[in-house]
């Protein structure tokens, strides 16, 4: 493993979440670092929502309260804003959130057929979560990967050119943990995790800005 892979793996693992649904100690530190990036505190609202979602897999009521407290805004403003965005989940979701694109390119490429087979394979319909809390199925608008239509996202990771068979393998791999290094736990985003470095020996924002460049898009 290269140093970069090591770094990525480290920031993309789910940390031990706190029991009360709020931020862990490390999360709280990250939250403060995120807030310090903005001239106005409330600008950090969405990054903080992602950070909290990364800790629990969804946005708990307690973490919304903590965010409100940190940003000196009301809880209604936090929950109101969070409810606007599909990527923020206000209810518990499975370990893997599968978002299937059904916009035009994917639709022509057989997205609805794929969706149907997924529903059949997982035994749930769109918007539901499997009983073992492994998979949540969502219908998504264009994911920007039209070249690989029909495509879907699993926890913000892209998978394209799928059909029923390919999806079956994907699900099997996800369930068996074969994709553990590729697909991070739901909600964990490198974008909010790399605010300051966790790599030993490196410190603070200098390291963070370096990794920003080296990490690139994905």
């Amino acid at each position: 493993m290269t140093e970069k892979d090591n770094y990525l793996a480290k920031i993309l693992e789910r940390k031990q979440p706190s029991d009360d649904g709020g931020f862990s100690e490390e999360g709280l530190e990250r939250a403060k670092a995120l807030i310090s990036l903005y001239p106005k505190k409330r600008s950090a609202l969405i990054p903080l929502c992602h950070l909290a979602q990364g800790e629990h897999g969804w946005l708990t009521e307690r973490s919304m309260e903590e965010i409100a407290e940190l940003l000196e805004i009301s809880v209604a403003e936090v929950s109101g804003t969070a409810s606007f965005y599909d990527m923020l989940h206000l209810e518990p979701v499975g370990n893997y959130v599968i978002s299937v694109c059904t916009n035009i390119a994917c639709m022509l490429g057989g997205a609805y057929e794929l969706l149907e087979s997924i529903e059949e394979r997982l035994g749930i319909s769109v918007g539901q979560t499997t009983l073992d809390m492994q998979f949540t199925l969502e219908e998504a608008e264009c994911l920007g990967a039209c070249d690989t239509a029909p495509c879907l996202q699993v926890n913000s990771r892209f998978f394209g050119n799928l059909d029923a068979v390919a999806f079956d393998k994907l699900v099997t791999d996800l369930a068996s943990g074969a994709l553990a290094g590729v697909v991070p736990p739901h909600g964990v985003l490198s974008r909010v995790q790399r605010v300051f470095s966790l790599m030993s020996g490196e410190q603070g924002e200098a390291a963070a800005s370096n990794t920003d460049e080296t990490l690139g898009q994905k």
């Binding site: 009521e61 409100a68 809880v75 209604a76 109101g80």
Partner: protein, 951 residues
């Protein structure tokens, strides 16, 4: 082609308007009009009689351009285009078409869109009949919908707060409620959630909408989405009758419309009085109408063999006069004491003052119930108006939290503070609801106020003993204009001190002396005395206070009054504390309670208890069965707000009318009639037989009230009242661009609709010229200025020197005790709250706030029960750890009796029978701990453990 012609006319108009740079001229619907530079187009049009439909626009909130209803055609370099007139400032040469074909089509389109998802359940909707959506659909809508699909559905209704329901299907997303909550009230507990057609107004899952001002969102909702629990399904707008009146629950005196149906009050709505409440009300005021129907005393009661029984009025009054006669025969003027009167209108207060001082010859008269600092001083200070306060350069809060005691004053201050328009300095023992917006905050431990103020004002001091942070000190002095090198006389220019008692457990002497010091050192500073009781300023102005006579004069200037009233008592006067202690010593034969309830409303419970025990004859004028009335020997039923007429005087000295809307229950009478009857029975009749006659006597002998009478206040141009004395404290509206009385039926829906039913309603700005012109002649005004006001010089400046100690008495500091702060909150166990079913559940339980360090020191944890003792009394309260509280201070709330949810905890720890047998009464009433004559109250505290007690 036509454009060119019009542009030409623009240029000409522009040239004409040039001289005055503050105005611009524009053309609206072909009419040349002028407008203020920063005025919004929708406002300019309205001022010139052109109504543009609107939903989201509200005259007292910032524009958002949310609903698009006000689209009009506006000229631009690229021709006419549709623009929202509520979001557009007027510009020179602008040309506007508000009802062109294009503008009309746009407005119709917007309305059709808004109605697509509106349920049209008008027949069962509370707003139906006074609904801006209904009204404007009739006036500006297409009249027909092309939408045939299924409308969206939500659960109806959601209880978003303890007083408010939300029906999300009806919402048109105008953002009035969310903007009000965030911008005006500073309680952003509601916000938009969701997206697209699923956008809803929502609270967070954990925090209900329990703002003190939630009722305003119901009032300004332009559809029936928000409804109040108290009014829901009570009446239809066309069944309502209405009278314009002034709220008497606190001294802000909000103008409101009292609306009744079938002879009962069903709703109060705020009226847009730009000087006072700007159409807002607090929830306590808004929902207090319920108290009229509950717990009322219906007939005079007299005590026979220990029990209060209904009697005839004649018998009750005969009992009272007999009691008074026997007291007077004992000799000495101080046999009769009168407490209360702040719930009376001015006319009632005046006649009771005349009865007490002129007929009974007593100087034991006080309306302030001990929560003032010195009535004479309060009236003598150069008074700021509310508008002056919220437009001041610097506001210094040396009072209780305005949100708890004077809610609408807070509402006026908050938006100004949030926009950074005023500097706020707090000098209070605990944080207030405005602390987060304060530029500087000085934590004052009880007993240290005078030293802090002294250090602050003494600019020669570099390092202050009491104020630790030197940087902050410098900053504060700058904001107070003390660092200015200018002359001494200009000190305090633009500074307003809001002064009141922030702590009922501390002697008022600290505040009194501090205020004198400030007044002496800062010549130009103005004051807003934050006495909170309803019409307390009216009662003080009418002489229901120690040493004061009607018209804001003290006894030294009492010649005019003396001529009318005859001899006046010469003895020195005393406040409520002194009166009660005389009662407690058995020196008073008759105690008359004027709609006051000292048993639940005075800060030294033991003193009141003793006073009640040792006074042989107690007469109570009461509207409700409050604890004090139920202990009296004779109870005389009186009217409540809504059932009486008269005038009231608010915190800034504004006199406005109170108007009757419903009949008083059964045999209740207005208090002046009772005073008049008693005087007649004592063979000293006043010869006054109506409110109008009393009112004209007031304007005749009360100097400050010259030119102000009930009938003159009924003139439509004076509906919002006038600040007395006329011509001395002018009405100034700094920064207000409003110049004419406006009525926006969309801003205040219910009121306008009621007006259409025939009830007169108008409100707005009183031009200053009106007040000064022709009302008082020049000579009259000059003499008024000289003679009526008690001047600050007449009050000796005690300060440090007179104490002979070099400093104010400072209680000896004990590391192991805590100094108590007793403060009020809005929903206490007052008669109004307890008799209003929707508000009663809002009374929260007693709790003691402690700093983290102190809690640890006494091994107390959050939520545990603590035993608090002082002055041989003890109470129980739940512990709340307040990380922002300074150490050495404990905070309790006033007037909290019930243990409520403590019950479970207490019974659990008391299953031991021995505890019950020991007879220990567990109470949470903090007033038990306080000694009214003490300087500060020091409490000892330990964990509540009844097992240990029983040992």
């Amino acid at each position: 082609m036509t454009d060119t012609v019009k542009n030409d006319s623009h240029d000409i108009a522009g040239a004409e308007a040039q001289p005055d740079s503050d105005t611009v001229s524009l053309i609206i619907d072909g009419r040349q009009v002028t407008a203020h530079k920063d005025e919004l187009l929708i406002e300019a049009a309205e001022r010139h009689g052109i109504f543009i439909p609107r939903f989201c626009y509200h005259p007292h909130m910032d524009p958002v351009g949310m609903c698009r209803m006000c689209l009009v055609e506006v000229s631009s370099p690229r021709g006419f285009s549709l623009q929202p007139s509520c979001y557009l400032k007027v510009q020179e040469n602008m040309e506007v078409k508000t009802s062109s074909e294009k503008a009309k089509r746009a407005q119709e389109g917007v309305l059709e869109l808004l109605l697509i998802n509106h349920p049209l359940d008008c027949p069962v909707c509370d707003k139906g009949g006074e609904c801006p959506l209904q009204d404007q659909d009739m006036s500006h809508g297409p009249g027909e919908s092309r939408f045939i699909e299924e409308k969206r559905h939500f659960d109806k209704p959601v209880e978003i707060g303890p007083l408010t329901y939300l029906d999300r299907e009806r919402c048109i997303q105008c953002a009035r409620c969310t903007r009000f909550a965030a911008e005006i009230a500073g309680d952003p507990q509601i916000d938009f959630a969701g997206r697209g057609d699923q956008t809803i107004v929502a609270t967070s899952p954990t925090q209900p909408f329990d703002s003190y001002f939630s009722g305003n969102t119901v009032q300004i909702c332009p559809v029936g989405a928000l409804t109040s629990k108290a009014y829901r399904f009570k009446s239809r707008p066309w069944d309502l009758e209405q009278a314009e009146t002034t709220c008497m629950l606190c001294s802000v005196g909000c103008r409101q419309a009292a609306q009744s149906s079938a002879g009962a009050l069903v709703r109060y709505l705020g009226i847009d009085d730009v000087n006072v409440n700007q159409s807002w009300l607090c929830d306590k005021g808004r929902y207090s109408f319920e108290a009229l129907q509950n717990g009322r005393i219906l007939a005079p009661l007299a005590r026979h063999q220990g029990r209060l029984e209904p009697v005839r009025w004649a018998d009750a009054l005969a009992d009272v006069t007999a009691g008074i006669r026997s007291a007077l025969s004992k000799g000495g003027n101080d046999q009769i004491a009168v407490i209360g009167g702040s719930k009376f209108v001015n006319e009632d207060a005046y006649l009771w003052a005349r009865l007490a001082k002129g007929v009974l010859g007593s100087e034991l008269v006080d309306a302030s119930m001990g929560d003032d600092f010195n009535a004479e001083l309060a009236l003598a200070l150069p008074r700021a108006t509310i508008n002056e306060t919220v437009n001041a350069k610097t506001v210094v809060l040396v009072s209780a939290d305005p949100k708890e005691e004077l809610p609408v004053l807070y509402l006026r201050l908050y938006p100004q503070l949030a926009k950074g328009k005023i500097n706020l300095i707090e000098i209070t023992p605990t944080r207030t609801s405005l602390s987060s917006l304060a530029k500087a905050r000085i934590d004052v431990r009880p007993g240290e106020l005078f030293s802090v103020i002294d250090d602050l004002l003494d600019t020669t001091k570099d390092t202050a003993g009491t104020i630790k942070d030197a940087l902050q000190l410098q900053n504060v002095r700058e904001m107070l204009t003390l660092s200015d090198t200018g002359s001494q006389e200009d000190r305090g220019q633009g500074v307003v001190f809001v002064i009141g008692r922030s702590n009922l457990a501390e002697s008022p002497v600290y505040l009194e002396e501090s205020v004198k010091l400030i007044a002496a050192k800062m010549a130009k500073a103005k004051f807003l005395p934050a006495l909170r009781r309803g019409n307390i300023f009216g009662a003080l102005d009418m002489g229901l206070a120690p040493n004061l006579l009607p018209g804001r004069v003290n006894k030294d200037y009492g010649d005019i009054v003396r001529r009318k009233w005859g001899t006046l008592p010469e003895a020195n006067s005393h406040g409520t504390t002194e009166i009660l202690s005389r009662c407690a010593k058995g020196e008073v034969s008759v105690l008359i309670l004027l709609a006051s309830d000292p048993l639940s409303d005075f800060f030294d419970q033991s003193l009141v208890e003793k006073a009640f025990e040792n006074t042989p004859f107690i007469v109570a004028l009461a509207s409700h069965e409050d604890p004090s009335a139920m202990r009296a020997d004779v109870v005389l039923p009186i009217c409540h707000l809504g059932e009486m007429n008269g005038t009231v005087t608010n915190i800034e000295g504004r006199v406005s009318t109170v108007n009757q809307k419903v009949m008083p229950p059964a045999l209740a009478r207005q208090p002046w009639i009772i005073a008049s009857d008693i005087a007649r029975l004592l063979d000293e009749p006043f010869g006054l037989s109506s409110l109008e006659e009393i009112s004209s006597e007031i304007s005749e002998i009360a100097l400050a009230y010259k030119g102000v009478s009930l009938s003159s206040l009924r003139a439509s141009s004076r509906r919002d009242g006038v600040v007395v004395p006329l011509g001395v404290t002018g009405v100034s509206i700094k920064g207000s661009k409003r110049t004419t009385a406006l009525l926006d039926p969309i801003a205040t829906p219910g009121i306008a609709s009621a007006e259409e039913q025939g009830a007169p309603m108008k409100s707005g700005y009183i031009p200053e010229s009106f007040i000064t012109a022709g009302e008082t002649d020049e000579a009259g005004r000059t003499s008024l200025k000289e003679r009526s006001l008690v001047s600050i010089d007449t009050l000796t400046l005690k300060g440090k020197q007179d104490m002979g100690l070099g400093v104010m008495p400072e209680p000896k500091s004990d590391k192991h005790t805590l100094r108590l702060v007793l403060k009020r909150d809005l929903y206490d166990m007052s008669t109004t709250v307890l008799n209003s079913p929707t508000m009663t559940p809002l009374v929260d339980e007693q709790e003691i706030s402690l700093s983290k360090a102190d809690a640890e020191r006494f091994s107390l944890t959050e939520g545990s029960l603590a035993k608090i003792a002082a002055n041989d009394q003890q109470i129980v309260a739940k512990v709340k750890i307040d990380s922002l509280l300074r150490a050495g201070v404990a905070v309790l709330k006033a007037n909290k009796e019930i243990v409520g949810s403590y019950d479970a905890a207490l019974t659990k720890s008391e299953d031991d029978k021995a505890t019950e047998d020991s007879g220990d009464q567990i109470t949470t009433r903090a007033e038990l701990l306080i000694d009214a004559f003490g300087l500060v109250t020091e409490v000892s505290i330990e964990p509540h453990d009844s097992a240990k007690e029983s040992r």
